[in-house]
Amino acid sequence: MVLTTSLLLLFALHLLSTGVRPDSRANKPSLLLMEAFRPLLMVESQMADEGSDFLHSYFDLVGVRQENLRLKQRLAELENQQRRMAELEAENRHLADLLELRDALATSAVAANVIGDDATGLSRTLILSAGERQGVHRGMAVVSVDGVVGKLIAVSEDSSRVLLINDHNSALDAFDQRSRARGIIAGVIEDGLTMKYVDRSEDIKPGDAIVTSGMDGIFTRGLLVGTVSRVSQEGPGLFLNIEVKPAVNFRQLEQVMILTVPVPAPPVSNNG
């Protein structure tokens, strides 16, 4: 057993140290697993939505007397029905918004549902219901009606995984819409975003909108990333410390749009 475990540890270290390429053999089982989990995740994510409603109802009803409880349960049933209808309506509205967004971006895009979260919670990734069969590939940009969501890091036949922009491994080129100061948006381990490498002489204020520059060739220029929440000059560094509040509420994300056409990088200019 010790020999087997040692070999497994060495293999895991090898995977880690070499960094598995998406087309490598070691990545194939991972994509097959994603595919195997997809149908269950689709069902589970629907059940989870209903389960969430149930939990909230439960907490609301704690402490209420028996009779009151019975009446409230009846009311809750009716409300659940109403919520389901409202849910369908909201979903329709959301899809219509996504269609509008696609038209506005003038690019080809695929709509996808969010069907799962990150398995450990330490990284910020989401599982989506669209894959290669829908024309989706690794590295494509994912957006929502509110703004930038992230980019695809793994794609199987019918599902994919998106690395959110607030993950600490994520980075994208962006600029301040008002002052045109450019920087790199990166995720923060606790939560939120930070804008790095912005010179101290730049004019950035809380409330400023941060948008994508399009320089990375992934995100279309001008997509909303978030708004500046805090600017400081603490520490001895050359750059400003800028905190950015994401435009997208990642926890409530249900539908997203995957941009299937690569974005041509705009010409380089000094003012972003």
Binding site: L9, A12, M34, E44, D118, A119, D167
Partner: protein
């Protein structure tokens, strides 16, 4: 073989729950690491070459749905499996209480290692900011350990496996 299939099925269900649960929990609370409980159970009560491979496989499956480093959770879960095996042999105990302690320390170890390796140790000085969430997750996971052990024991009985003596 029946044991492997039982735990593979358990890992499948546990992983599904880990992917779904975060949406139900309040912000800042990490979902319990159910797969790790299974790895500890395997290490303590069913050590062997094949179960080590299964622990590695469970970690690899977690890697499929978490983070960007393929192999990281495979490495960490194999280490937890090995630690559970070693500690249960050294202390000559495979009791549930021992399992709870190993799970608690195992969650803290895997989370801290995950955090440090993913950030290439660049965010080590900010570790204290995420520690409360990790400790809550470790406590929550440890609390669920007796129930998961009972479920695996029940599953073992159902598929006709010999029961492990918990009082050893």
């Amino acid at each position: 073989m029946r044991l492997l299939l039982l735990f593979a099925l358990g890992a499948f269900v546990a992983l599904i729950l880990q992917i779904i649960l975060p949406r139900l929990l309040p912000s800042g609370i990490l979902a319990p690491d159910l797969v790790l409980i299974l790895a500890v159970d395997l290490g303590m009560r069913h050590p062997g070459a094949l179960t080590a491979v299964l622990a590695f496989g469970m970690g690899y499956a977690v890697d499929t749905f978490s983070g960007v480093e393929l192999g990281l959770n495979a490495l960490l879960l194999t280490l937890v499996f090995l630690f559970a095996y070693w500690l249960s042999r050294v202390l000559m105990s495979t009791s549930t209480a021992m399992g709870v302690i190993i799970v608690f320390t195992g969650v803290i170890f895997t989370d801290v290692a995950n955090y440090l390796i993913c950030s290439r140790f660049a965010a080590a000085e900010r570790l204290h900011m995420i520690m409360p969430a990790i400790l809550i997750q470790a406590a929550f996971t440890a609390l669920l350990t007796p129930s998961v052990f009972r479920i695996t024991a029940w599953g073992s009985r159902i598929v006709g496996l010999r029961q492990y003596n918990r009082n050893r």
